[in-house]
Symmetry: C2
Subunit: 432 residues, 2 copies
């Protein structure tokens, strides 16, 4: 798809482009509701039955919990270069996220009123890890490391083991990240177990991590009983590149998104039509050599786009409307343009910062707001694993200073008992 | 309801107490879906029809927007004492929330990699204000002031005007808080208008504020297209009080919650049975004189509780499991106990800090996590009106340092295009 800002119908086509739906949301609400009901009612027994039915695994025989020997064996079986890369990623993610730790605030104002904000870690979180090809060790690090940094005591991972098989690199990543419990279950039943608990699995307070339609529906249904992270959609990248770039580099970046999912979206924004053509040709050339060529080709054909803009000033409001999960800026004034962007999950500055570095070893989190939600939400951070309690403390004098206004507003809202709870304390000073 | 820690069945009864459902969630999904569809398809026309049908108001005649003359008139018609109290509340909320503004972070690590977190305000937010008796001016301040502090440009308020009537104090509070637009619409149609926009109303990026079952269902349905705040349930308070307290003060605090809603919950936790009895008697005495006695009596009868504990050490884990929206601690060692509590929306320390002060003029926010969600979420703050963009910047040297590890992990995940987007840049240095 090509969009040219200079064409008369650009605004209409761009507006339509923004609202293109990239995933078919299967309606599994009812099935999921039934599965959750079963797990709540029958606990482990239900988990055993569902694992046998959906994963072809007899968890009665294997046990639900993945044993430490299994985890150590997986770790030993993993290529040392991969272990070293995971360790490097872990250390960089850990040190970057440590800077996100919010500070408590306690102060006394001019009236002598004490106010405060106190942060505490969530006691226990669940981390869903998909099975099969979407089972990414890097995502284990991105979800578990911030929890560790935040001080979460229980980090409970669930991962489906189709026919008993678990990805050893995922287990190795869990060990490196400090995951405290791992269970070989998946789907809506795993989400239900995390939310409500079973004989074997103690409930958690919040559930993170991506999953298929069943997992997403289950997360929505248990929300309220536990917290959940965002419901992530297919990934996307917007690359702003000027003609000075090597078309092959930019094409590789576009394909790195496209290979994720047929619903993924790769967008090139450029000021030079010939350069845009060169990138499109490079995409075609590189496609043929990819192991996931089918996925990448479909994603690029269905949702890929080249947007031609007259100048970079014009690109800013368009980029803010796209509100891309990933924004690469490979232009001479990249730093200056980045400073003017308002809506983006993450910005990658300069031609030597491919988005892929952020997927693995940059140190920032790769769990980012998709489908234009960067307009109102942020990527995963330590803040998702802590919560704030506000603190208020008045003495008799402060109550005298503020009491009358509180009573006035309570009466204006027709809340007598509210007014009395203050007035009863203002008329007399005794009492502890 | 009375719970005594020393009794054999305490754990069973306490566990049941924790899971008591306090609201009947009406199933309005289908009606709401239809309303949203209409507003998306027909915009203002649909709003006019729904306002006529549900609010008995001809918005074709009045216009959807509340005019500045109407707002100024409401302001002038409001009792000067109320205006002064609103102004005091506004100033205290504003100065407290200003301390919550997160700071940008940009740094260069040992390898020369530049990382950063940049915070920006959400461009436009919608604030839903219920009609009728639940229409609280204080809630307008609590939702709008943090938006103003965060730097949100458009703060769009919607409020249903049953038979054309608007609460003048709500309009006065909106003026004081700096709300930029007000529309006389409510229900699911107002949420749809905020999320998708109409000819008159430009869409917002996030929707805040409480509402009835239709509003809550509409917020859930538009979530993803826009952000939403928490779905708030009925209010609750846990008061930890020792026998040194005046039973009448504590009774007043319990009733201040109970008068809100028949689903509200007031819990007294004490170490002294006789004191508990005295508070219960005081509640009965005070009930008779309340204008909202019926609501308070039903809430107290259905969900009120007195929990007897042998000592305050015992109370801490129980309070953390209750994870109360509001926690009042009126004991001699209140400060010390407060420091040991992990799960609470807000803590009010000492006998001269009734929770009601926090509802109006304390300065902290009164929008807090209900129904035990303080285990995993926080009260409303400036953070709900901003979002974070992470920034990453590498030069050729940094790409050389980190590239191999990224390629190793990409290959381990079977993502060729990911690997190529890095390797293609490592083999040659030219390009911008």
């Amino acid at each position: 798809m090509r969009l040219d800002y200079r064409q008369a119908d650009f605004e209409t086509r761009f507006a339509a482009f923004l609202t293109t739906k990239r995933e078919v949301s299967e309606d599994v609400e009812t099935d999921v509701r039934a599965i959750i009901k079963e797990v709540r009612a029958r606990g482990d027994e239900a988990l055993h039955e569902f694992s046998l039915r959906f994963d072809g695994l007899d968890t009665r025989a294997t046990g639900l919990a993945v044993r430490s020997e299994e985890i150590d064996a997986a770790f030993s079986a993993t290529d040392p270069d991969v272990i070293a890369a995971l360790q490097l990623a872990h250390d960089r993610i850990s040190s970057h996220h440590a800077r996100q730790m919010p500070r408590d605030d306690r102060y006394t104002d001019a009236l002598g009123v004490e106010l405060g904000s106190r942060w505490t870690a969530i006691e226990a979180v669940g981390l869903y890890v998909p099975g099969g090809t979407a089972s990414y060790p890097s995502s284990v690090l991105m979800n578990a490391v911030p929890a560790k940094v935040a001080g979460v005591e229980r980090i409970v991972m669930v991962v489906p083991a189709r026919d008993g098989a678990l990805n050893p690199v995922v287990l190795a990543a869990a060990k490196i990240a400090g995951v405290t419990e791992i269970y070989r279950i998946g789907g809506a039943q795993a989400i239900a177990a995390l939310a409500y608990g079973t004989q074997t699995i103690k409930p958690v307070a919040k559930i993170m991590g991506p999953g298929n339609a069943w997992v997403a529906a289950a997360k929505r249904q248990v929300f309220g009983t536990v917290g959940i992270d965002m419901i992530a959609g297919p990934s996307e990248v917007l690359v702003m590149a000027d003609p000075d770039n090597n078309p092959d580099w930019i094409a590789a970046d576009l394909l790195a998104q496209s290979e994720h999912d047929i619903g993924a979206q790769s967008i090139l924004m450029t000021t030079d039509e010939a350069f845009g053509d060169a990138v499109v040709e490079a995409v075609e050339r590189q496609l043929s050599t990819l192991s996931r060529a089918d996925t990448a080709r479909k994603s690029w054909a269905d949702f890929g786009a080249v947007i031609l803009v007259p100048d970079w000033d014009t690109s800013i409001p368009l980029a803010d409307r796209i509100a891309a999960e990933h924004l690469e800026i490979a232009t001479l004034n990249a730093e200056e343009l980045a400073g003017r962007i308002r809506n983006a999950g993450a910005i990658f500055i300069g031609a030597h910062t491919p988005e892929v570095i952020g997927d693995y070893v940059g140190g920032s989190n790769h769990v980012l707001p998709t489908a234009r939600s960067a307009r109102f939400s942020s990527g995963l951070s330590v803040l998702d694993y802590v919560k704030r309690t506000s603190v208020l403390k008045l003495g008799p004098e402060q109550l005298q200073s503020l009491g009358s206004a509180a009573i006035t507003l309570a009466r204006a809202e027709g809340l007598d008992a509210h007014a009395r709870s203050v007035s009863i304390r203002m008329n007399r000073r005794e009492g502890s």
